[in-house]
């Protein structure tokens, strides 16, 4: 804005300011009203000039207008869900208030599943919620993919204007520009050859999900010119969509200059049971493990390798063990881990996985051998071996420090179908309680299947009756709040009362338990309400034209893909 031009018969504003700054004693004002003391005359003139300047303000020239944000074609959120989102995001500010959690739900913890559900429905985020969403995603990296997917193209447009939100542009390739169409071969090639590293990684990942072969060909085309660190990350992106067709490329990468690249290539090859590397490893591994049939029942005997030859090293075996481990057992572990599990039945008398795991192992090699098989089962995603190695959830050693650690068990569980996984963990909890269950619960599908939910609630109930404080189980409680099927809320009603205090119980524990269960029930209700609010309006008012008939189909679609 600028003021109007001064009239010729008055002193200019600049003149008045200079006089005021220096003082009328030092710089007597010229041409001011006579008969008044100089400072007063100056103030009189300045008052008139100020009002004139303000009254004469004009609009400024417009700066360059930003391009329009891209349209978001997704249907808008139902009103109730939009309100819920506001509440969830409002809870974010000052989340670390500390103190006891009380009986009200932790809304911030529900944001991830709210976002997942909204994305599954394919809704567009309300524009005014975008700044809060971006702020939430900025503070919590785990929220970023879902939050950015939900925030959509307008958020990327918005993020360009605020340095705090740069992360959104980094996680989205091309600063908001979408990936080239799958058919746009030229565009793909150009992005691959000219793009920034992050853009190229994203491109490779996206292509790998759609056309794995094309991604591999792109990579192979520029492979010799890539830097070692880049090669490692590019190679890593082949993990998704890995197939036998990748073998020749990976086999070539075994001769790479970089040791890390070699190791990754070997690991990927060993996940392909039909690969030449897997066959070589099978030969090496079976040479070390044999069945001694002289005894009854037969026993597995292990003769660990005596040296790590160059061939082994080329196939990714690391020669030097970490401190504190014998080198022979270190080599053995790597060989067994990389050998296809399918080789063992033939080698060990035609037995199945379950029988093999049940065989005794001579000379204390059992731990080493079983651990290696676990890693192999995880790497090869072998459900039969996973099941065999997990054993029965109610076996006494399942809860103890057996051959298979909890972390390994959690990984093995991931190879099983959701239902079987939930049943196994339910069985585990029924026998061993909750104290070891946290990690295992983390790999179960949400919401928890009915038997699992019931097992957790029963175990919590038992823990309460045992008289301990609920915060000993706060991890599991928090998981239950987020993962228990909301339909279970009704079954929990009975736990809300404060029980009579028993002598052996921790003082006041009953009240705290009632509060914790109250929070659990409230959270479950809230989750049920959240899911209801996100259900598309039956009137069809929230749907874009023409999609009224396809509502069912939309719900069944997978989550909106992250950009």
């Amino acid at each position: 804005m600028h003021g109007s031009a001064p009239r010729p018969d008055t002193v200019t504003w600049e003149d008045l300011v200079t006089t005021a700054l220096l003082g009328t004693d030092r710089r007597p004002p010229a041409r001011l009203a006579p008969g008044r003391p100089a400072p007063v005359a100056l103030l009189d003139a300045a008052a008139g000039a100020t009002v004139r300047r303000r009254a004469g303000l004009r609009a400024a020239r417009a700066a360059r207008r930003p391009d329009r944000a891209p349209e978001d074609p997704r249907p808008p959120l139902p009103a109730a869900a939009a309100g819920r989102l506001t509440a969830l995001l409002a809870d974010r500010s000052g989340g670390a208030s500390g103190g006891r959690r009380g009986s009200s739900p932790d809304l911030m913890e529900l944001l991830p599943q709210w976002l997942a559900a909204a994305n599954a429905h394919g809704y567009a985020a309300p524009a005014q919620a975008l700044p809060a969403l971006l702020d939430a995603a900025r503070g919590r990296t785990d929220l970023r993919p879902a939050a950015l997917a939900f925030a959509g193209p307008r958020a990327l447009w918005l993020a360009r204007f605020n340095p705090d939100w740069r992360f959104a542009l980094r996680s989205a390739p091309g600063g908001g520009a979408a990936l080239p169409d799958p058919g746009d071969e030229k565009g793909i090639r150009r992005l691959w050859e000219e793009g920034l590293f992050a853009e190229r990684v994203a491109l490779l990942g996206a292509l790998r999900a759609r056309t794995p072969a094309l991604a591999r060909e792109l990579l192979a085309g520029t492979w010799p010119t890539e830097r070692a660190e880049d090669r490692l990350l590019f190679l890593d992106s082949l993990r998704s969509g890995l197939s036998a067709a990748d073998e020749p490329f990976l086999e070539k990468a075994l001769g790479d200059r970089s040791r890390n690249v070699r190791a990754t290539a070997a690991e990927l090859l060993s996940a392909l049971p039909g690969s030449a590397l897997a066959a070589r490893m099978a030969v090496r591994a079976t040479a070390c493990v044999a069945l001694d049939r002289t005894g009854d029942p037969p026993v597995i005997v292990v003769e660990a390798p005596h040296e790590c030859d160059p061939g082994m090293e080329r196939d990714g075996v690391v020669a030097t063990p970490p401190a504190g481990r014998g080198e022979r057992s270190w080599w053995l572990g790597q060989l067994v881990e990389a050998a296809p599990l399918g080789t063992w039945p033939d080698r060990l008398g035609g037995r199945g996985a379950r029988e093999i795991v049940a065989l005794a192992v001579a000379d204390g090699w059992q731990g080493e051998l079983h651990a290696a098989w676990c890693r192999a089962a995880v790497r090869q995603r072998d459900a039969v071996w996973s099941r065999a190695l997990l054993g029965s959830p109610s076996a006494p050693e399942a809860g103890g420090p057996g051959a298979v650690s909890l972390a390994e068990r959690a990984k093995l569980l991931a190879a099983l179908e959701a239902e079987e996984r939930a049943e196994w963990v339910a069985g585990f909890i029924a026998t061993h309680g909750l104290s070891e269950a946290f990690q295992l619960l983390g790999v179960c599908a949400v919401p928890w299947a009915a038997p699992l939910g019931r097992a957790v609630v029963d175990a919590l109930n038992i823990a309460r009756d045992a008289g301990s404080y609920p915060w000993s189980f706060s991890g599991v409680m928090g998981l239950a709040e987020r993962c228990l099927d909301p339909a279970e809320a009704a079954r929990l009603e009975g736990l809300l009362a404060i029980p009579d205090e028993r002598e052996d119980a921790a003082p006041g524990a009953g009240g705290y338990w009632a509060e914790a269960f109250q929070r659990l029930v409230t959270t479950l209700r809230l989750r049920a309400a959240m899911a209801d609010e996100l259900r598309p309006d039956d009137s069809g008012a929230n749907l874009p034209p023409g999609s009224a008939g396809t509502r069912r189909g939309r719900q069944d679609r997978p989550a909106h893909p992250a950009p």
């Binding site: 609009a59 109730a80 309100g83 309400a529």
Partner: protein, 446 residues
């Protein structure tokens, strides 16, 4: 009129929260879990909230106020229980059903409150006649004498300042102004005191401060002169001078009944006081009015009206030329969703309105304006609201640039024209509420 179940939105409820902590706590209580016996009807909402004690808190809200009552010990208005209950009611998922009669404990407070409002109305405007008009007149005279003495002293100090030069004042620092402000408080001229205190901050406000300081000194001088020669002024202007000086006035304008659309509500706080401004727009009269209310520091004033709702009520204007302030009189129902927007104008017209308004009140900082078809545009470190079709723009004020509302405005616009209500003045434009093109609710920016 809310009996039919016209409920507020969650945003509108959250806008009532006195602070972020309450918003958060209220959000957590906005679930069916802790509530029992809740219901709504007769323009009120009530419920029992299970707290940490054995007895549940009784929470009731009179939507016509809105006014709140809760048996919890919190001193916040509304407390988290009232907010939570309103959120639950706004969600309209059946947990706060419409009932014929409130329970007795709620009914008691509601009728008591409404009876008092009724009494006030039948008394005729509520301005009880002064006990002793003669004594009141003498008091007013004594105060006028003090203010005159204060204004005269301030004139002297301003003259001294300009005799010695503003550059010297910069060196003298804050103390000089603080002391002068204290003298004006003694002179019972709070308006002068506040302006003097503001002067103290100008030398540290960056480039161009001498011009700004001279402007404010000159306007202060103008105000002094206005007071000292008030007999010569037309009465409306004299009333404006009195109000700028901070002398008490009563809202004795004729009641204007209208459907008042709540355009914006925001708080400013200093060390002693929280000031709440609520802008209202008369949908029939096309007048814009300002409600001012005060609370102690750190606590929100009780009156709170959700942005985007419309209120059937009477307002009475305060005296003074160009003064938009009014007092809220009788209300004829709870605020209800209006789905209305104020008609807007261009940036050039907005500045012209400010210029015109200065004729009646030269001390005016800004005027309320709704801009139509404007786009938020980054301009280096600054931001503008530019006309969509013309090469004209208003810069945003410094305060507006640092508020999170700027980002909401930008997100709402996405580079497309929006309608924005705000305050337009010599410092630039402060956006307060925005609407996107077509339909959509009012989005508060402050």
């Amino acid at each position: 009129m809310t009996e039919q179940g016209v409920r507020w939105t969650a945003d509108q409820v959250l806008a009532l929260a006195p602070d972020a902590a309450s918003r958060k706590a209220g959000g957590r209580l906005g679930t069916a879990g802790p509530w029992s016996g809740s219901g709504s009807g007769k323009e009120s909402v009530w419920g029992l909230c299970k707290g940490s004690g054995s007895k549940p808190y009784q929470t009731v809200i009179d939507l016509t106020g809105p006014a709140y009552r809760c048996s919890c010990p919190s001193r916040k208005f509304p407390c988290k229980h009232a907010l939570g209950l309103l959120l639950l009611w706004a969600a309209d998922d059946g947990s706060v059903p419409v009932r014929a009669e409130p329970p007795e404990w709620a009914e008691q407070w509601l009728t008591g409150r409404r009876d008092r409002a009724e009494d006030k109305r039948t008394e005729g405007g509520g301005s009880a006649p002064a006990a002793d008009p003669e004594a009141a007149r003498r008091r007013a005279e004594r105060r006028a004498e003090r203010v005159t003495a204060g204004a005269t002293e301030l004139e002297q100090r301003l003259a001294d300042l300009l005799r010695g030069g503003l550059a010297a004042a910069e060196q003298a620092g804050y103390g000089l102004w603080e002391e002068t402000a204290a003298r004006m408080v003694d002179a019972q001229a709070p308006g002068l005191a506040a302006r003097v205190r503001d002067l103290g901050a100008i030398p540290a406000s960056g480039a161009g401060w001498p011009a700004r300081l001279l402007e404010e000194c000159a306007l202060l001088h103008l105000l002094d002169q206005g007071w000292l020669r008030r007999e010569a002024l037309p009465e409306p202007l004299a009333a404006t001078v009195r109000s700028r000086l901070g002398l008490p006035a009563s809202a004795d304008g004729p009641p204007e009944r209208d459907r008042w659309l709540v355009l914006a509500q925001y708080d400013t706080a200093d060390t002693k006081l929280t000031t709440r401004r609520i802008w209202l727009y008369g949908t029939a009269s096309h007048r814009t009015r300002l409600l001012l209310s005060y609370g102690p520091a750190g606590r929100a004033p009780e009156l709170s009206l959700p942005v985007g709702l419309a209120l059937d009520a009477e307002l009475s204007a305060y005296p003074g030329a160009g003064q938009l302030r009014a007092a809220l009189g009788e209300r004829f129902g709870a605020p209800v969703p209006a789905g209305l927007r104020p008609p807007g104008t261009s940036t050039a017209e907005a500045l012209a309105r400010y210029g015109t308004a200065l004729r009646e009140d030269p001390w005016l900082e800004s005027v309320p304006v709704t801009l139509e078809q404007v786009v938020p545009v980054p301009d280096g470190e600054q931001w503008q609201l530019a006309d969509a079709e013309e090469d004209a723009a208003l810069p945003l004020t410094r305060a507006a640039r640092s508020r999170p509302g700027l980002w909401r405005l930008l997100a709402l616009s996405g580079g497309a024209p929006v309608t924005v209500f705000g305050e337009c003045g010599h410092r630039g434009f402060t956006p307060l509420t925005a609407w996107r093109e077509g339909d959509g609710e009012a989005v508060p920016l402050c």
